[in-house]
């Protein structure tokens, strides 16, 4: 659990972050969104004290982050950034092993952990263990960056626009991978992005920031249906908020009892995708299939449309 209490950062007369408070539950993902210059990166960097707050404090599982030296604190918190920030003169293995080395893990434990992470991130150790970062593709570099951040099994992972440099297809894959990692390791994550779709897709809770202030911190559906501020409504997108809302619910969650001879859709598909499929095929309803391929129920256009209203 991360408790952020009245966090403020001033550079001279300019206030970059202004009395921001919110909590991130253990094992959840919180996403901070905002336009550039909103103070979202500074806020993130105050959590691991890359930026020292002017006022306020951060509690990590109840303990003030200032109770230990900054570099020791950071070794317990994973940190991944846009453009991966890999060390160009070190191999993939050396990059991933950075924090365990700093912590003085025994060599055997480092080796097995690095090996495990490379498997998890689909980097064949035989091919890439001794490769240098410039020999990898953009998506692979980004995965090594996240693997390095997770190497010492941190309970908390901070990410600053980790997918900003990736093209849309690799990016979607990286987002799915991240959700998989979060489920697998149960890491508490705080992620900064300027992309609202990414925020809604990844975040259990989303913090919207503007000019250093936190405007709203809530579940994505609440941000859409009850924006606290005109700026939040603008950020979340007034014109297609119904579609965004549909995108937040899966077919499995919304499925109603009954059968259908319309198109078959996976229960993990979002209502937005199901609606699009129904519009395209001209059918009135779709059959929802579970992961095992068995029918789970059906969805009519009317039932979907009802979910697109606040």
């Amino acid at each position: 659990m991360i408790q952020i209490e009245g966090l403020t950062k001033q550079y001279g007369a300019t206030t970059v972050v202004d009395r921001v408070s919110f909590n991130v539950e253990r094992n959840s993902i919180a996403v901070i969104v905002g336009t550039s210059g909103s103070g979202k990166s500074t806020l993130l960097r105050m959590i691991n004290r890359l930026v020292e707050p002017t006022a306020g404090r951060v509690l990590l599982d109840g303990a003030d982050t200032r109770s230990e030296p900054a570099h020791l604190l950071r070794r317990r918190i994973g940190y991944a950034i846009q453009g991966h920030g890999l060390f160009p003169h070190r191999t993939v293995v050396e990059n991933v092993a950075t924090v365990p080395r700093l912590l003085g893990w025994p060599e055997a434990r480092i080796r097995s952990r690095v090996h495990e992470l490379m498997e998890v991130f689909q980097l064949d150790p035989g091919l890439y263990a001794n490769a240098f970062p410039h020999q990898l593709s953009g998506g692979q570099q980004q995965r090594v960056g996240v693997a390095r951040a997770l190497a010492a099994e941190p309970a908390v992972l901070l990410m600053d626009e980790p997918f900003g440099a990736l093209d849309p297809i690799i990016r979607a894959k990286a987002q799915e991978d991240l959700l998989g990692i979060q489920r697998r390791f149960g890491t508490t994550m705080v992620l900064v992005t300027h992309d609202m779709d990414e925020a809604f897709h990844l975040g259990e809770r989303v913090a919207v920031m503007s000019q250093g202030r936190l405007l709203q911190y809530d579940r994505p559906a609440v941000l859409l249906t009850h924006p606290a501020d005109p700026f939040v409504a603008r950020m979340t997108g007034i014109t297609d908020r119904a579609m965004k809302l549909l995108a937040l619910t899966t077919a499995g969650e919304a499925a109603l009892p009954g059968g259908s001879d319309g198109p078959r859709v996976a229960s993990s598909a979002s209502l937005r995708e199901v609606l699009s499929e129904l519009l395209w095929s001209g059918a009135a309803s779709a059959l929802v299939l579970g992961e095992d391929g068995a029918p789970r129920g059906q969805l009519t256009v009317a039932a979907i449309l009802a979910r697109g209203r606040p």
Partner: protein
Amino acid sequence: MVFKTNRIMPGEPRGLQQVLPAWAALGFQAVLLLTAAVAVGVADAKRRLIAALGGVTVLALAVAAAANALTPAGDKVIRVAPGAAFWVLLICLGLLATDAITRMRPGPLVRVLLLALAIAIAGAALAQGTFDNLSVMREYAVNAGRFPVELWRHIWLAGGSLIAAVIVGMPLGILCHRAPRLQPPVLGTLNIIQTIPAIALFGILMAPLGALAARLPAAAALGIRGIGAAPAVVALFLYSLLPIVANTVVGLRRVSHAAVDAALGVGMTPRQVLSGIELPLALPVIITGIRVVLVQNIGMVTVAALIGGGGLGTFVFQGIGQTAVDLVLLGAIPIVVLAFSASVLLDALVEVLDRTPFTAPESAP
């Protein structure tokens, strides 16, 4: 060839045909013509290199043979030096060889080996006495006792001031990188020092160092005086600072901002970031600065001879004083060889260190 009855008389030209047996002169010309033909007509770099090296070898042997032929046995006064044609040919062949080597793109290790090989062959020929009747070697024979002393002194003056400049310059560069406000005053001051002519700087340093020696007997005991090695080393040290400080700053600046941010973010201490990330990544640029300084120092130490600093410049200025060109060459040729070797060695080192390409510095989010 240039033939002089003694070392300061104006020389008279002698053609190779007049000096060498007809077969040797014709053979020499044939090899050179062949080399020229290769230079014009053959594109393959390896063959061009072989032709150039063959040409150099034949040229050297011909000059040595001519000198032997022109010198009566036992004569110590006659001076035989290569004429202008020799130097022109040597430059042409050198260009041909350099061009061929550049096109072959040898690895750094191969280049160092080539250099070592060339020096070994030249050294062996000199030790054999192949060129003993050439005027430069005659001057060497006269100064044989002093030559190694002045050579070592030259290397020591150039290298010592370099080491001192690295010890002071790198921390200064790191400081300038960490505190950008220091950069303009530090680099500005060093820039001004750099524009002072060497002789003037020697002169400027004479007074304070002389005063220091007069006040402090300990300083005088260490060999610090107004003239001699002390002002030379101090001046070279001051000249060396700018390239070292500037290259340290530039090298550190080009280290990827994201890498440094990530290094701090995962819990490295600032010292670990400096020694583990910043310095290794900046090293190629810093070594390039050291290369510039070393080559510059090897040349500049020559002038130190004027204020009694010693080194190979002693021969150069004695030669000028006595209008004995050969004595000038005895100083100048080793200086050129030293500077060239230092340059090749450090270039190779930079290349070895710079194998991993660097990501361009990324802007802060």
